[in-house]
């Protein structure tokens, strides 16, 4: 019942279930399953039921309701909510209550969605496994000894565990697509500027983008339609018409669509063969639906990860300097006035040392170094130049094709703890996803089967800027003829079948 947006809408309009009943079911499901999964950092039963009751009241009063009326939605804990804490899964913001809603949360409320809670994530969205959360790891509903992906691990896992049908994540270098892939759900990273960043707590401002997660394209299209559009409070938000994504996904024919097969991705080392196979299988599906396949190469693909890991930490080092213990958030206690560096500097150092986790500190240091005098030309400024080359690669590719097809991740979900001590291995999870962020283009992760261990694997479609409609349409066609997105994990099974990895 909680798997499909259209079903939830139908149940209500047919009078078969009320919004309160649906919200209660979601809350009950969360209560049962989240003890194991830990997808949520914050839940508020009263607020959720009150919002649902309001939808029911207005429905019975004959009022026109929004497109997501009574649909339970989970929101990544990086998006400000005026009535719930917003922590970024960091000790630094464990006590932070924003006085305002983010732009996308405003839009959710205006669409009459019922926000059930905030989801767990890698601290400040930095990570690929949701293991960097100050509030515990989130587990993969398909195999709870494994990571759900990250940084929007909670947002993907809560859908995969059928707690809510849809959720909002954010994607800076793959943080929607990679957990969606690992949790066997569908996730969209929109064009940079398509969705407001107002109230999205910044990790890397030039890369961050909010996007939808759900079981299928059918489910995320109405959510994307709700959150997209101009917001004058975000200067990088595009002031352009959005159109209807719900209408855009009608149809089954891909004739006239040229799909580029990403040669570098398919030839890359360390990629699970079942994933390469899934991409090839998907290509056949698209071809059968009328699309034309063309080999495409993006010559600078090998620089995506290094470029990303200079630009993102550089911006992060700046964005996170506001967390100094002086105005809000965590402040170190008992700073002796006689401290060696003086009380002010000591407060800064101790508050930041205590408030931030290891990965956040690592990236702040990386970024600070990359922007430092004498190094900025070799790192930050050079990365900006390479970013332009990467963007030109995509421009050239899209002059030949309408979409690009490739993998999302090199492997399926890996065991908890297996990469925490190896940041480079962890960063390589972003091998295929950072390009879209650096180029600012939209990209879609679609479930595409299982690996040898029965874990979800996925394919990625990428489109030119602002072509979300094309992307969602192709994704929808894929899901009409495949059933990977209808597979459900057996979340009732005990989580010890494979043994917990140390």
């Amino acid at each position: 019942m909680l798997d499909s947006v259209s079903e939830i809408l139908r149940l209500q309009s047919a009078g078969e279930a009320s919004a309160v009943e649906i919200a209660s079911a979601a809350l009950d499901r969360i209560e049962t399953a989240d003890g194991t999964i830990n997808a949520f950092t914050h839940l508020n039963r009263e607020l959720t039921l009150a919002a649902a009751a309001d939808v029911d009241r207005r429905r019975s009063a004959g009022e026109t309701l929004g497109p997501l009326a009574g649909v339970p939605v989970a929101v990544k804990d990086v998006l400000c909510t005026h009535d719930m804490p917003t922590t970024c899964s960091s000790k630094m913001l464990h006590n932070f209550h924003p006085p305002y809603d983010s732009g996308v949360v405003e839009k959710l409320r205006a669409a009459d969605a019922v926000i059930v809670g905030k989801t767990n994530m890698d601290e400040f969205a930095m990570g690929a496994s949701t293991e960097n959360s100050a509030f515990g790891v989130t587990k993969n509903p398909w195999d709870t000894t494994r990571i759900p992906g990250g940084s929007s691990g909670g947002a993907a896992a809560c859908v995969a565990a059928s707690m809510v049908p849809i959720s909002l994540g954010t994607d800076t270098g793959g943080s929607i697509r990679q957990p969606a892939a690992m949790c066997g759900v569908t996730g969209l990273k929109p064009t940079y500027g398509r969705v407001s960043r107002y109230g999205l707590i910044a990790f890397a401002s030039s890369l961050d983008q909010v996007g939808p997660i759900g079981w299928s394209v059918q489910d995320i299209a109405p959510l994307m339609e709700t959150i997209a559009g101009h917001d004058k409070r975000d200067s990088t938000s595009l002031n352009l018409d959005v159109g209807s994504y719900v209408d855009a996904i009608k149809g089954t024919d891909l004739t006239g669509i040229k799909i580029g097969m990403l040669r570098e991705s398919m030839e890359a080392e360390g990629v699970d063969p079942t994933i390469k196979e899934a991409v090839k299988e998907a290509a056949k599906v698209f071809e059968k639906a009328g699309a034309e396949l063309i080999d495409i190469n993006l010559p600078h693909s090998e620089y995506w990860v290094p470029t990303y890991y200079v630009i993102a930490p550089s911006e992060a080092s700046s964005n996170l300097s506001r967390y100094d213990g002086a105005h809000y958030g965590h402040r170190a206690a008992d700073i002796e006035t006689g401290a060696e560096l003086g009380p002010l500097v000591t407060t800064y150092c101790r508050s930041r040392d205590e408030g931030f986790g290891a990965e956040v500190k690592r990236r702040i240091m990386l970024g600070t170094y990359a922007l430092s005098e004498g190094y900025a030309d070799d790192y930050y400024n050079k990365a900006l130049k390479v970013r332009r080359l990467i963007k030109s690669d995509f421009d050239a590719a899209f002059s030949q094709v309408d979409l690009l097809l490739g993998p999302v991740t090199p492997t399926a979900a890996f065991p908890l703890g297996s990469k925490v001590d190896d940041p480079i291995q962890m960063y390589l999870c972003d091998l295929f996803t950072t390009g879209a962020n650096l180029a600012g283009i939209p990209a879609l992760s679609l479930p595409a089967g299982k690996d040898a261990d029965g874990l979800p694997i996925a394919i990625q479609l990428q489109a030119p800027a602002l072509e979300e409609s094309r992307l969602l349409f192709a994704g929808s066609v894929f899901q009409l003829v495949t059933d990977h997105h209808t597979d459900r994990p057996n979340t009732e099974r005990p989580d010890t079948t494979k043994g917990v990895q140390s």
């Binding site: 932070f96 924003p98 707590i201 910044a202 030039s206 004058k232 975000d234 300097s321 800064y348």
Partner: protein, 491 residues
């Protein structure tokens, strides 16, 4: 340093001008001065997580206007950069500023050379860039607690930082530069330029180039801060000139031996004091602010701002000289007082139809009272029309300058009109026959004066003018003098 080596003073000024916008640079908060602490703030200027800056177009227009007023070029594209440092009054941990593409570049200001009046000195301006102000830290050192309170009202207020070339050679030139800059900024409504309220702040970079037997030796550069008036800037620079020479004589340290230091100005003791030993090579890690788009300034936008500038101070000086027949110096004094004074003068001079007399009355009587009461011309108690009315009567000979001063004083005291003041003081114009009678009487009573005059001591009649005033206060001294001379010479 009076008997020392020939020395050239090198001064460069960094002036922060607060732009007169209704709202802050990146949010809708008010910029009004003097509100209760932390009442003019919002998530954006508080730097709360998730809040984003949105540029205030009015600040861009004012900056372009300012740039054009100091003959800068305005590039077609400019951008925002983050300047990063930690301080409690900087809630984001960075200041949004402009690094390598300032909104205005390469301008100049011309001043009248204080050392040789009539000569023009052209002082270069390197750049002017726009940035947001930080908040204010108020340190309370009482009882050894060392508490600091932060007021973030000012945070995000638009500032234009105008950086001059090191072209000034004396504190007089620095003052003239500041006067002219302030004049243009206030005249065009770009800024209030109130140093007391912080809407104009000046940092001065000073050092000396000493000519030691044909070899140029430069002293270490000192940046002086915390000056709260133009007078203070002047004094601080003068103090630095002397201090740096003395230190150089004492230690021989040159610019090669010591990095730039920062010194504060203490107005009370009239001295600068060391604030920061070495300018730690501060690394602000500038990079383009990804939350803001670059600013495009198309030619037509710049040109329409240029067209709206109107008359600049230099043109007004010229015009006042031609239109009211006043001297360059007098036009300079009036124009330098700002827009309100120019309007006051023009209104009064038009009414009196005597520009010269109006100019001298304003410079002496009006400005003296303004100084005494520390008021601006807006608060001067006599309206320009009334002063013009009064001076018009002097021009027509109805009363003399001295009596006019009495009338003006009475008008200020009692707040009455020109007519009422004249009536109150019993001033009436005296008939010429009456004056002739008075003069005959005085000459008859003072034969010695007549004799002195005839012996060539023409100033002897002066004593009789005084007596005439005593007998009839309304007697015009000029007329009395002429009548006395006429009568003596007729004998």
């Amino acid at each position: 340093m009076s008997d020392g080596y020939p020395t050239k003073t090198v001064i460069g000024l960094e002036v922060h001008v607060q732009l007169k916008t209704q709202t802050k640079l990146f949010c809708g908060c008010s910029t009004e001065f003097g509100a209760e602490p932390n009442t003019q703030v919002c998530p954006v200027c508080l730097g709360l997580p998730g809040a984003l800056p949105v540029m205030n177009e009015a600040a861009i227009d004012l900056s372009v206007k300012a740039g054009l007023a100091i003959d800068c070029s305005i590039p077609p594209m400019t951008k925002w950069d983050r300047k990063q440092y930690f301080y409690p009054d900087l809630p984001k941990g960075y200041q949004i500023s402009q690094f390598d593409l300032p909104i205005c570049a390469d301008g100049f200001i011309e001043i009248d050379d204080p050392a040789s009046p009539g000569q023009i000195r052209k002082l270069g301006i390197i750049r002017a860039h726009l940035e947001e102000d930080a908040g204010k830290s108020m340190h309370d050192e009482a009882a050894g607690k060392g508490d600091t309170k932060i007021d973030l009202n000012r945070c995000g207020t638009p500032l234009l930082e105008i950086v001059s070339q090191p072209d000034m050679r004396s504190s007089d030139e620095a003052k003239a530069y500041l006067n002219e800059l302030k004049l243009r900024m206030t005249h065009l409504g770009i800024s209030d330029c109130e140093m007391q309220e912080g809407s104009l702040r000046v940092d001065a970079n000073v050092n000396l180039h000493i000519d030691v037997d044909g070899k140029n030796v430069a002293t270490p550069i000192v940046e002086v801060k915390n000056m709260n008036s133009f007078r203070a800037v002047e004094r601080a620079i003068q103090y630095e000139i002397d201090r740096q020479y003395d230190i150089w004589e004492e230690t021989g340290k040159t610019i090669k031996d010591e990095a730039k230091t920062t010194r504060g100005w203490d107005d009370e003791s009239g001295k600068t004091f060391l604030q920061r030993e070495k300018e730690e090579s501060a690394d602000y890690r500038y990079f383009p602010d990804p939350d803001l788009l670059p600013i495009r300034l198309p030619r037509d936008r710049v040109e329409s701002i240029r067209a709206s500038l109107g008359e600049m101070p230099a043109q007004i000086r010229q015009r006042l000289q031609g239109q009211y027949g006043i001297k360059p110096y007098d036009a300079d004094v009036i124009v330098n007082q700002g827009v309100a004074m120019i309007t006051y003068f023009e209104t009064a001079a038009t009414k009196s139809d005597d520009g010269k007399r109006t100019s001298s009355f304003i410079q002496q009587d009006v400005m003296r009272l303004m100084n005494e009461r520390s008021i601006s011309i807006e608060d001067y108690p006599v309206a320009a029309e009334s002063l013009g009315d009064l001076l018009g009567r002097v021009a027509k000979g109805e009363l003399d300058n001295g009596r006019a001063r009495d009338v003006l004083a009475h008008m200020i005291d009692k707040g009455v009109s020109v007519d009422d003041a004249i009536k109150d003081l019993g001033i009436e114009s005296v008939d010429n026959n009456e004056i002739e009678d008075l003069c005959r009487e005085l000459l008859a009573a003072n034969p010695a004066v007549v004799q002195d005059y005839k012996d060539g001591k023409k100033q002897a009649v002066g004593s009789l003018i005084g007596q005439a005033k005593k007998k009839n206060a309304n007697a015009n001294p000029q007329v009395v003098r002429q009548t006395l001379i006429q009568l003596i010479e007729q004998e």
